[in-house]
Structures are given as C-alpha cells and as structure tokens.
Symmetry: D2
Subunit: 162 residues, 4 copies
C-alpha cells in the first residue's frame, strides 16, 4: 500500500534560528522521522509549503486540495499546523476526494525539541490512514476525528469532539 | 474508548546500567512515552513482566494470555520483545479472545536511546488497536500484520509477510 | 571547592509554549543539566532572573553584580543570553570582585532542543571556573576569553577575539 | 591552541546493535559531539582503537602512550572507558610526556543514550586541557584529578580522590 505525505509546515517542522533566536522553517524533518521510526511503508514525501498554518490562506488551501486530488495514492497524510488544521480538513472534505483517505496530523511541540509529540503523531497518522474508510480525518495525540466532528480548543490547545 | 497496555519488557524498556555497562530492565517507560505523545486516549497500563522475550516461556505466555482474557477493555496493546513476538501473538490467537482486538508492538532500539523507534511504534499500535476488527495483530515500524501472516527475519531484523 | 551558578535566563533556558507557539521562560533547566552531567561538584544554583539578555537593563545588571559580590563562593558561573553577555562581563569586571573567578556562559540553542550546545558549554564553564585565576571570563563553545578580549559577532553569531 | 583527541572507545562510543540487542562499537561519536557543542577550538580527532577498556592490554596501552608521544600538540584529550582509565593515566604519566597536558575522560552512559553525560564531560575535558599545567589528569563529571590522586569506586561507579 502506497502512502503520500504532503508536508505543509506547522509546529512539526519549526526550527530554532541561532542567529535571531526565533523559530523558523527550513527543510522538513519528515525523512529523518521516518528513518527514526524505521518506517517500512511505501511512503512518498511531497513538500507543498512550509508555513505557519495561521498564515495559510484560501489559495494555499486550494493548493493542498489540488495536490491531494492529483495524488495517485489512495492514502494521504497531510502534516499541518494545529491552529487551522480543522479548516483545511473541511476544505478537503468539501472537495470530494472520492475513494481517498486523508489524515491530517501535526504536533504540539516542534520535532526539533526533545519533548516533541511529533514522532508519536506521525506513527499514529500513518496507521490510521491505512485502515480508516475513505474520508477526511484529524489524528492528534492518539485520537482520530472525522473532519466535521472536531475543533481545537484554543484555551487548552487540545483537539476535542465538536 | 478504553485501551489497556500490557507491558512485558522487550527492547522497548531496556535501560543502561551505569555500574555494569549492561542493558537491563527497571521500570517501564510507557507512562513517560504517553506523556511525551500527549496521548489523550483513556489508557490503563499493566506491567505483567519485564523480561527479554527470549526468556519468555510457556508459563509466561500463559500469564499474558490470562491477563488479556481478564481485561475488561476491548482494545489491548501488548509491548513485547521482537524475538518471540510472533509466538506470543499465536498463543493469544489460539486462546480465542472473542471480541477483542490485540496489537503487539515493540522496538528495534530501546526508548532510552535517542534514536529509538519506540514512540513511533507506540503511536502506531494505539491507533491500529482502535480501528482494526477483533483479532490478534503485530504492529511494527508503520506496518500491521495478522498474527499468522508475519515472521521476524532474523538476518535483517525486520518483520515481513509470511 | 564550592561553585555558585547564577541563572539569568538566556537561550539556555528557553522553553516552547504549546499554546502560543512562542519561546518563553519557565523554570531553569540547570538542575536537570547537572543531573545529566552527573556533576559531582559542590554546586549551588541561584535563579537571579529569567530573561532574554536583550531585555537586561542597568538595574538588572546591577542585581547580577550584587549577587556575585554577595556570594561567599570564590568560583561563580553566570548563565546568560549571548546578545549582551559581554556587557554584563564588563559590568562584573568593573565592579572589582576581588579574588573571585567569574565565568559567563550560555547557549546558541535552547537546552530543550535536542541539538543544544548547552550541556557542552556548562561542562566547559564549570571546568574553567575551577582553574582560571581570579577575573571575569566568557566561556562559549570550548573557548574562553578574558572579559575585555571578546565580542559577539552579530552576523555569524559566534564569539571571537576582540 | 591546537588540541588532539585520541579516541580509544569506552562507554562514550557504545552503540546499540539492532540485530543482536547488544552494545557494540562502530564509529566514534566525537565529530558529532563537537558539532553539537558548536566547538570552535582547533581540534584533530584520532581514532586509536574502539574497545571496552576492560579489554585493553599492555600493548594497547603502549599504543596510546606512543600516540600521545608522537602528537605534535601540547594539549591532548584521551576518551577512554572508565574501568581502567586510571591505569592508562598511570602509563601515560610514567612515560614522561614532557610539556604535555593530557586529560582522560569518558562517560557513565553512552552518548547514543538520551541521558548521556558524554557531552558534559567532553566540554569539561576540552576546557581543563587548555588551562591545566603539563601533566596527566582524569576529568569526569565536572571534577579533575591528578593521575595519582584518583580511583574509580567499583561499587558506586564514580571517581573519587585516592
């Protein structure tokens, strides 16, 4: 079974800039994470963009939808910032990607931090995408939600049923 | 949905003994791993034993089967050494745990090592167990196998279809 | 030989805020770092402040000088943001802390990041402070400089002879 | 100031063998450790051997002495297993390496483990070697000892005055 990972940035891939002391985006950590997970799936990685999901606009979202539509794989994982993950999930659901299972995932803490939940979430998303029926889902911190049954609680930072 | 994790030891939980320079078992790392994964599932952890799976005998296997039978949860994850994981999977399957989904998982490298695949595998196993139909499975490095369709390749160290 | 570590914040101790996605200060990582280094020195830790060194003003600097003066130990390590470390070193030197060896150190990358130089620098600073003659020094990335023979190169981010 | 690091193996450099589940030696981690420490010293690395110091015999020790004698640098750091570090220190002292400062260091936990003291000890050894007068020293966990004033306590695993 082939899986395509579409990278869009988000907390997952934030790096520390030694010169400015700020977090920024460089290359995605996905290849390193798959190596560390000794992942034995047939996975292709596609870097669509590297941005904070708060900066994602309609054109960016259309680009993600287009890439998912164009993908020949039936199983798609989208790494995404948590702030607007649910909005992108909705855009993907409304696009009607027939026969495809799309799982959006992200991280509460950048992978570059020792304490990141990124590897756990990646293992989770890659598993859900193989067994869930076609549709659009959000997978975070062990849980999975249908795209229209979830919201991010801004106060606690966690995803919860909606 | 409630999940019970039955800890049996294995590479997952090996520690470095500073005095002897050997690997040994102390406490399980599962609670720390769930914290790091910011796991939001309803999970109970049960330390059944802390051993190398090469040292697991029929009595030990019967104990694991008994614990799985006794568990009130429908979803069970068993952390296990990779060397005899498939044998324990068979024992569980032959025990006929009706209505239960049991996923065995482990690690190629101890969690205490920076390069461990443990967190990835744990995220994966906790996801598969929620959506796979009742039965016994092995989940390693992104893949999942029915208990009777997998073997560990001793030369390469990886799990493959059988 | 007793050593006092005066914590002032800086990159060393920056944490990731899961809610805002920004770096911030919480508690110092020094105790954890000393445990990890299995440090066997007689060390006392004093959190003077937890700030970005760009936010350090004259009053803050006076506070650091006062703490160094008040300390009964002859060996003092000051953890400090790199941006104005040299200015604080000058303030300490001009204060004339007779008989005391003061070593300022910091990190290019927060300790909470897997790739941090913090542990290396801490081991270095704690060693220099034991053997250098009284005076004020900056110790970064294996090197040590007298307070008036160093500057931070803003373009490369590294400390160099001045 | 030029420093030569002579690598002999020891806990520092132990790796986990995924196939056998045992610790073994592969390549040294020193270059990676220097990168992580963003070390700005002029350092040359020389892998003399990669062994457990319990397996180090007289010929091996003579080889280390020979390399230290042949080195053109005045500052030498020797990474070494802790079990017989003091014996090698004695061999180096008895060889009479005039004008040279030699610091032996090691680790209680392999660098490949997340909890290793290796980076702390390396930062420490590289600092002591620059400022201590000619002679042979052991530097571990923040402390330094003249070669004839230290022993490893086999029960606690720590180096202490002798």
């Amino acid at each position: 079974m082939s899986i395509r990972i579409l990278v869009t940035g988000g907390t997952f891939d934030k790096e520390y800039d030694e010169l400015t002391g700020r977090l920024f985006f460089q290359d995605t950590h996905l290849p390193e994470m798959l190596r560390r997970g000794r992942c034995r799936l047939d996975v292709a990685i596609d870097t669509v963009m590297m941005i904070d999901s708060l900066d994602l606009d309609a054109a960016g979202r259309a680009e993600i939808v287009g890439r998912c539509r164009a993908a020949t794989e039936r199983c798609l994982v989208v790494t995404h910032g948590t702030d607007t993950m649910v909005e992108t999930a909705r855009a993907l659901a409304e696009a009607g990607l027939e026969g495809k299972t799309v799982v959006l995932t992200g991280a509460m803490v950048p992978y570059a931090f020792g304490s990141s939940d990124g590897l756990f979430n990646l293992g989770s998303a890659l598993s859900f995408v193989q067994v869930l029926p076609p549709g659009v889902y959000v997978a975070m911190n062990g849980q999975h939600f249908a795209w229209d049954k979830v919201r991010k609680n801004r106060e606690t930072g966690v995803f919860e049923p909606a």
